[in-house]
Symmetry: C2
Amino acid sequence: MGKRVTVEDIARELGISSMTVSRALNNRPHVNDVTREKVLNAAKRLGYVQNHIAKSLVLRKTNVIGIVIPKISHFFFSEVIRGIESVTFQHGYQLLLTHSAESTDRESQAIRTLESQRVDGILISTAQNVADYDVYRQALARSTPLVFFDRCVFDLGASCVHIDDRESARLLAAHFVQHGYQRIAHLAGPHLVSIGKERLEGYRMALEAHGIPYDESLVVTSGFNERGGYEAMAPLLDRPDGARPDAVVAVNDPAAFGAMKAIKDRGLRIPQDIAVGGFTDDPRAEMVEPGLTTIRQPAYEIGVRAAEQLINHINTGQADAEDIIISSQLVIRRSCGCGAENSPPASPDRAE
Amino acid sequence: MGKRVTVEDIARELGISSMTVSRALNNRPHVNDVTREKVLNAAKRLGYVQNHIAKSLVLRKTNVIGIVIPKISHFFFSEVIRGIESVTFQHGYQLLLTHSAESTDRESQAIRTLESQRVDGILISTAQNVADYDVYRQALARSTPLVFFDRCVFDLGASCVHIDDRESARLLAAHFVQHGYQRIAHLAGPHLVSIGKERLEGYRMALEAHGIPYDESLVVTSGFNERGGYEAMAPLLDRPDGARPDAVVAVNDPAAFGAMKAIKDRGLRIPQDIAVGGFTDDPRAEMVEPGLTTIRQPAYEIGVRAAEQLINHINTGQADAEDIIISSQLVIRRSCGCGAENSPPASPDRAE
DNA sequence: TTGTACGCGTTATCAA
DNA sequence: TTGATAACGCGTACAA
C-alpha cells in the first residue's frame, strides 16, 4: 500500500477537524450542508478511499464473513458460494474464502486464520476426515458465530443447513429396491463426515425395510470424487457373474460418474447390467449417457439459508442454534432403468 | 466480536511488557527462552488469537488479495479460483472474493470495496459489458497492483494472463473450414469484452484466409451462458433449408451447450446437420452427446500464473506489466464431425 | 534481553 | 454544528 489519503489529509486541506470529515463521509447528522459538500468534493478530488481496516479496528466489527470450503472444484460448492454471495452482498458483508482441500489440518489452520482476521462469522462445510471438534468449540467459545452447511457437526450449539441426507439416501435406495434390484451396492463417503454416515444409514434403512440383508462387502468407501468412484467399483466388478451388484448408490454425483465410467470400461451396460444413482444433481448428470438418477440438493438455496442464518446469529449476538433442513428431490433419469424420464429443467434454464 | 485476549492481557498476566509478548509470539529474536515459553503457554491458556486487523493497520500490509469474478457459477472460474488459491495459500495470502455478476456497476463497487479493505492486490476478470476503464486506472494510480485474467483490459499497464483467444478461435474455425463446412456461424460474446472481440476476430480471420466471405447475419451475440446460446440459435435455425449454417463456433462451452440443445430441439442432428464447437473444455463437454469439440483453456494454470504474477508485483513494488499467454489446445470430439476422436483425459483423471 | 513512547486511520465520547 | 481527546491492538524505533 502506497501513501494513501486519510481523513486527516482532507481535514487539513479544508482547515477543519477530522471528526467533521468523518461525519460528512459517513452521512452522519450534525454536519452543515455546505461543509459536507466541501468534504465530499475534497474527498473525490484527492482520491480518498476509506480505510476499512482502521474502521474495523475501532468498531470491532469487520463486516467480513469467512468461508471454509472442502473442495472448491466441486460444482455443488461453487453453487453454494453463489448463494452465500447473493445474501452477503445484499447485507454489505465481504467474503473471505478459504479452502481446506479435504484436509483437517488445513481446515483448522483456515479457521484460526479467519478468527485472526476477526471475521464476524464463519460458514463451514467440514473436511471429509473431520474427527477433532475442538477447533469449532474454541471458535464458538470465543463467540465467533459458526454455521455449518452440507457437511455438519451437530451438538456443538452451531446451526446447520443441509438436506435430510438419511431420508434422501433411503428414498433413493428404496427406489432401486422397489424396481426389483436385489444386490444394491453403496459407494460410501468417509464414515467420519456427516453426509457419509447419514447416507450410508439411509441406504441400510431402505434395505432393512424391504427385508434385504445388509451385506458389508457391497459397501465400498469411494470418497467424493470421480477417481474414487472409479476405483471403488473394481472389487465390485471383479465379482463373478451373478454375484456382481445389479445397482449402485453412490454417495455423490462425481463418484457416480466415476462408477459409470468403470462400468462402461468393463463393457457392461447401464442400467441393464448395473443401475446407478447419485447425489447432488451436478450439471453433468443430465448430460452423461445415460442420464444419472440422483438426489437434487438445492445448492444455491443452501448457501442462501446458511448465510442468512449466520447474519442472523451475528446480529442477535447468539441466537439459538437451528438445524435447518432444505428439501431435496429425487430426480429420475435413465441410469436407474426405472422408465419414467422425469427430466429436470434443461440446460438453458440453468443459467440465471 | 466479543471481548478478546490481547498481547496486553498476556503481558499483564505475566508481569512483563507487551513488547516482549509480541516478540515471543512472532518468533522474533531477543527474547529469553524461558520468557518465550511462558508467553506461549499463557497465550494458549488464555486462548489468544492474534488480531490481524491491528497488525495490518500498523504494518500497512494486509496479506489479503482481492478477486473479482464475473460469474461464480461458471466452471471455468471455479477452476481459476482453485489455481489462485493454491498459490496464495503457499504464500500466506488470504482471498477476499467478490462477484460482479457481469454487471459493470457491481464490478466498480467491488473494486472500490477491495481498495477500502486495503487488499495488497487485485485479480480480476472483467464483466461482459466493461466499457469504462477509469476504475482500473484509479486503482493502479493508487498503486494497488492489478492483474487481469481471461477477460482483460490491455494498455493500462496491468499484467494479463490469458490464452491466445484470437489464434485459438482462428484455429477452431479453420478446423471447420478444412473439413468442408461452408456456412459457419458464430455465437459471439459481447463485443466490449476482450474475449468477445478476439474470438470474433479469430473467426473472421479463418474465413478470410480460406476465401469465405464474412456474412454478418451468421454472427449472433449469445453472451456466455446456456440460455444465451439457446436463444441465439433461433434466427439461425429459422433460416430455410440450404441457408442454415452447417456449423457453429460458440464463444464458450455453455453457449455451445445451449446451441446443441436448440439444434436437437429442432430435430436436427449434430454434427450431420450442424456441427458445433466451443471454448473452455467444461467438464460437460465430454459427457454431452455428441462430445463437444472445444478449445481447452487451462483454467487452473491461468489462476496459478495470475496469482504468481500479482504476488510478484506486490513484492517488487511495481514490476513491469506482462502479457502472459497460456497455451490452449484444440480438443476434437464428435460434435465437429471430423472423425478423429482425440479424447481428453477421462473423468476419473479430472480429480486432483 | 526488556521496556517506553508513539503511530497506523478511524470513530465514540464528551465538551465547546 | 464542530472539535479535542482517547481508544481500538499491534509493531517500530529507540532507550535502558
